[in-house]
């Protein structure tokens, strides 16, 4: 006991430093977690958060039985899986390619330009999509017109929504995401390449048998880990790209929570909070599971 007190007293100044951040975390992170209990109550403004009646799992059951449930879950999962799998190879290939470029200015220029879209805000990114894909005067439809294809209403067609979301995401982030692979490639032992050269390996063989295996573990860990956050990729962008015409394929959990809770006429905090909590819990289980898998496969994990 005395020893413990001693240990604490010796670094008391560190606790003072930590006090503000901890206060922040408690107020802005843990208080809302505690506040999530309104998901089990019937929240009314007059009775406040603590006076409202307990209703148990009513809101969860309502959500699971609701007409929207299947559609939203399906959209959320498909959008994120599509996003993960389609987005996965591009940064990898880009890094492998850049690693073999020996002309410095070329490498620098490609890196500079491909990283740049990362800094475009979501709002501007979606605004660009709207302009470039516009039915009447967007450049894409103009180009299609040249080869005799009728203008396509990309934004209004629910079948295009997921692809546009995913491929614009690749355009925007493939460059920046390749940095981590370049870092992994730069730590490949040069003697491996020297040995391979002496044995007469071609460049293609060296890429295939040395570079690829050395970054694949990183890539797979990243892929597995990103599966853990599968329920919450890109809410801001989905929300901006959404319109009444493509709602069938664009409604995901987060946008639905927002609409039910903060936009709709009959604001229903409790119902919305229940859906949000449902997502948090499923997401949490996913992260834990996925991290266990990652730990088993490669010793690397989030914590």
């Amino acid at each position: 006991m005395k020893l413990r007190l001693n240990k604490i007293m010796r670094v008391w100044q560190l606790y003072i430093l930590l006090s503000l951040p901890i206060l922040y975390i408690i107020i802005f992170k843990y208080v809302p977690m505690y506040g999530a209990q309104i998901a089990f109550r019937d929240f009314t403004v007059s009775k406040g958060m603590w006076g409202s009646e307990w209703v148990g799992l009513k809101h969860f059951i309502r959500f699971i039985h609701s007409y929207e449930f299947g559609k939203i879950i399906k959209n959320t999962l498909i959008l994120n899986l599509y996003n993960l799998l389609a987005g996965f190879p591009f940064p990898l290939l880009l890094a492998l390619g850049l690693n073999y470029v020996r002309v410095r200015w070329f490498k620098k220029t490609v890196q500079m330009v491909t990283y740049a879209p990362h800094f475009i805000s979501t709002v501007v990114m979606v605004g660009m999509l709207f302009e470039l894909l516009d039915t009447r005067n967007g450049i894409v439809n103009n180009l299609l017109g040249l080869v005799g294809i009728q203008p396509i209403n990309f934004m209004g067609n629910p079948d295009f929504f997921k692809s546009m979301f995913v491929w614009s995401g690749i355009w925007q982030s493939a460059g920046f995401s390749c940095i981590i692979y370049l870092a992994a490639l730069s730590s490949v032992d040069p003697s491996l390449h020297e040995a391979a050269l002496i044995d007469g390996a071609s460049q293609r063989q060296r890429m295939w048998h040395i570079d690829l295996p050395s970054i694949l573990p990183v890539a797979i860990i990243l892929l597995i880990l990103s599966m853990g956050s599968m329920l919450d990729v890109g809410f801001e962008k989905v929300f901006l790209m959404q319109n009444p015409l493509n709602l069938r394929t664009s409604e995901v959990i987060d946008t639905y929570v927002y609409k039910v809770g903060l936009v709709s006429q009959a604001m229903n905090y409790s119902y919305s909070a229940a859906i949000g909590l449902f997502k948090s819990i499923v997401g949490f289980i996913l992260i834990i599971t996925v991290n266990q898998i990652a730990r088993k496969t490669n010793q690397a994990s989030l914590w």
Binding site: K7, R10, V11, I16, L17, L18, L20, I22, Y24, I25, I27, Y30, V31, M33, Y34, G35, A36, M49, L94, G97, L98, V101, F106, T109, V110, V113, T114, A116, F119, S121, T122, V123, V124, V126, G127, F130, E131, I139, W171, A174, I179, A183, P190, H193, L197, S202, Q203, R204, R206, Y258, L262, S272, A273, G276, L277, S280, I281, G283, F284, L302
Partner: protein, 298 residues
């Protein structure tokens, strides 16, 4: 492998050639939309609408930019965004350093518990509604605090910063300072902060870009037009197509007005993105460094 010269046979040459071609294609795919938007923004509105702009500007004019700068909300949005970004980032840096340094110390009693307290929040959250109700109950709606306090600290950046401290501040430094009678406050102020220039640069950039590009908090926490950050103004114009008729009053013809509206959007995209794009090449290496530090132990 850039260090050693190698004999290139035919198949290696072909391989290298293919790589260059593929990279160039990718490069052009990224570059083309950027160039197009820039060109469209300074082209004649009727040429833009008629689809005559392909790569280079047609009949250059700055009408779009004039319309942008005449728009009242864009100006105030810019100023608001700068304010929220500077203020918010200052709070972020302060809080991140306060959290990261103690957590990097091996002799901090209860370190794992505190660390868990932080990391747990990245995996589980109360959700949108409880967060909103909290901000509302704290009476922060429609104040600058709603823009800077809910995200005052990012746990990921704390982890990156802590990793930096652990790897680049030798324990001997602390021991020597302690022998000389330096306490922890002084040590942070006189030694840690002066030595952490690179990491402060990295997290400043991360936080600042986040603030600048952020719109969702503003959308739910603010409803006064005069407080809107740029991104909200952009959203109203670019995505909800809410181009205030007032600012295009001097044009009689409806078709011309339509065309100018399209032009205005291109110009707006350029105006709002250009500040980051101009700064970014100079700070690119810091971002790269951030990713590297993060990958040490993410």
């Amino acid at each position: 492998m850039n260090n050693f010269k190698m004999k290139m046979n035919f198949s290696d040459r072909m391989f290298t050639f293919t790589i260059y071609v593929l990279l160039s294609l990718f490069f052009l795919m990224i570059l083309y939309p950027l160039i197009f938007i820039l060109s469209a923004s300074i082209s004649d509105p009727s040429a833009v609408v008629a689809g005559k702009v392909w790569l280079w500007p047609v009949k250059p004019t700055f009408m779009g930019y004039e319309a942008v700068f005449k728009h009242k909300l864009i100006g105030s949005g810019f100023l608001n965004s700068i304010y929220y970004t500077l203020f918010g980032t200052a709070i972020n840096i302060f809080m991140t350093l306060l959290a990261a340094y103690p957590l990097s110390r091996r002799d901090l009693y209860g370190k794992n518990v505190i660390m868990f307290l932080f990391v747990f929040t990245t995996m589980f959250s109360g959700g949108l509604i409880p967060g909103y109700l909290l901000v509302k109950d704290l009476n922060m709606l429609n104040t600058v605090w709603a823009m800077v306090l809910p995200g005052a600290l990012s746990v990921w950046n704390v982890i990156i910063t802590r990793t930096f401290f652990q790897t680049s501040l030798p324990i001997e430094l602390l021991e020597a300072a302690q022998i000389d009678g330096c306490n922890d406050f002084k040590f942070v102020w006189k030694i840690v902060i002066p030595l952490s220039g690179p990491i402060i640069a990295v997290i400043t950039l991360y936080y600042a870009v986040d603030h600048w590009n952020q719109y969702f908090n503003a959308m739910i926490y603010l409803n006064k037009q005069s407080m809107y950050p740029l991104q909200i103004v952009l959203r109203n114009i670019l995505i909800q197509n809410d181009v205030n008729a007032l600012m295009l009053t001097d044009i009689e013809n409806a078709a011309q007005r339509d065309a100018l509206r399209v032009l205005l959007k291109y110009s707006l995209i350029v105006v709002s993105t250009l500040p980051l794009m101009l700064v970014y090449p100079f700070v690119q290496k810091h971002f790269v460094k951030g990713v590297m530090i993060g990958s040490l132990k993410g």
